[in-house]
């Protein structure tokens, strides 16, 4: 029996082989979304737990890698929905001299804060499309949505970020 067939039938050894084959890739994808190594490790385990739980739904002639990535994306999205945005940034951090043309530390903090406050589904696409520069097709496949919807969400994420940055600038100006 093939590895994927054995896995779908509930063989733990087959699952272990698949786990070891794909854990690095699942982790690398997850860490790009959640941007925290510890959380990404936990979510990798959570992803494989979901994979094992739903093994009966997997078609042995299907693409395990794509399936795992879809589940990893959903697990990461669930995490982003659950977690509260970190609004408070550490104060009095040493300010590294910025290279010419780079944004100031204050502006960087504002952008970071606006990014972390994005709603989960927009933060997911912003992280993958804008920071990691993954293709829309790749994101669409992983998130189980159409490419045009990815594009729409990127546009909306940028618009929300612009609005937040403007209001944060106004906040700073009034202080």
């Amino acid at each position: 029996m093939e590895l994927l067939e054995r896995f779908a039938a509930g063989d733990l050894q087959a699952f272990e082989v698949l786990f070891r084959q794909h854990q690095k890739e699942v982790y690398a994808w997850t860490v790009r979304i959640v941007r925290d190594t510890g959380i990404a490790e936990d979510l990798t385990v959570e992803t494989f737990w979901r994979i094992y739980k739903h093994r009966a739904q997997f078609k042995p002639n299907g693409n395990f890698r794509a399936w795992a990535r879809r589940i990893a994306t959903n697990a990461a999205l669930d995490h982003l929905r659950r977690s509260r945005p970190e609004t408070a940034l550490p104060e009095n951090l040493p300010c590294a001299p910025s290279p010419d043309g780079a944004v100031s530390r204050e502006a960087r903090d504002s952008i970071n804060r606006a990014f972390r406050e994005l709603p989960a589904k927009y933060r997911l696409v912003a992280s993958l499309a804008l920071v990691e520069e993954e293709s829309y097709a790749e994101i669409a496949q992983a998130a189980g949505i159409s490419e045009s919807l990815v594009k729409v969400r990127v546009f909306r994420a940028v618009r929300i970020l612009r609005k937040k940055l403007n209001s944060l600038r106004a906040e700073v100006a009034t202080q």
Binding site: A28, V45, I111, R162
Partner: protein
């Protein structure tokens, strides 16, 4: 909103959002996976309580009003 807006936001984010230090997995997560499998065994498939209630009501109706059996069979 134009593509230039998206490109400029990309640049801003790249400068502001810290790159992930551990992009590569440094340890095997299989032991952690085994612990999770031990700690959280998959729930045995249970019939929801409202299904039992529905079955009880249906049984009561069939016992009290046997005349409704042909109607029920017709609608099945």
């Amino acid at each position: 909103m134009s593509n230039e807006d998206i490109e400029s936001m990309k640049e801003l984010l790249k400068q502001a959002v810290a790159p992930v230090p551990g992009g590569e997995l440094r340890r095997d997560l299989w032991p952690q996976m085994l612990r999770k499998l031990d700690e959280q065994p998959f729930p045995v498939h249970r019939v929801p309580w409202f299904d039992w209630v529905l079955a009880a009501i249906l049984s009561a109706v069939l016992i009290l009003f046997p005349g409704s059996i042909p109607t029920l069979l017709y609608h099945l």
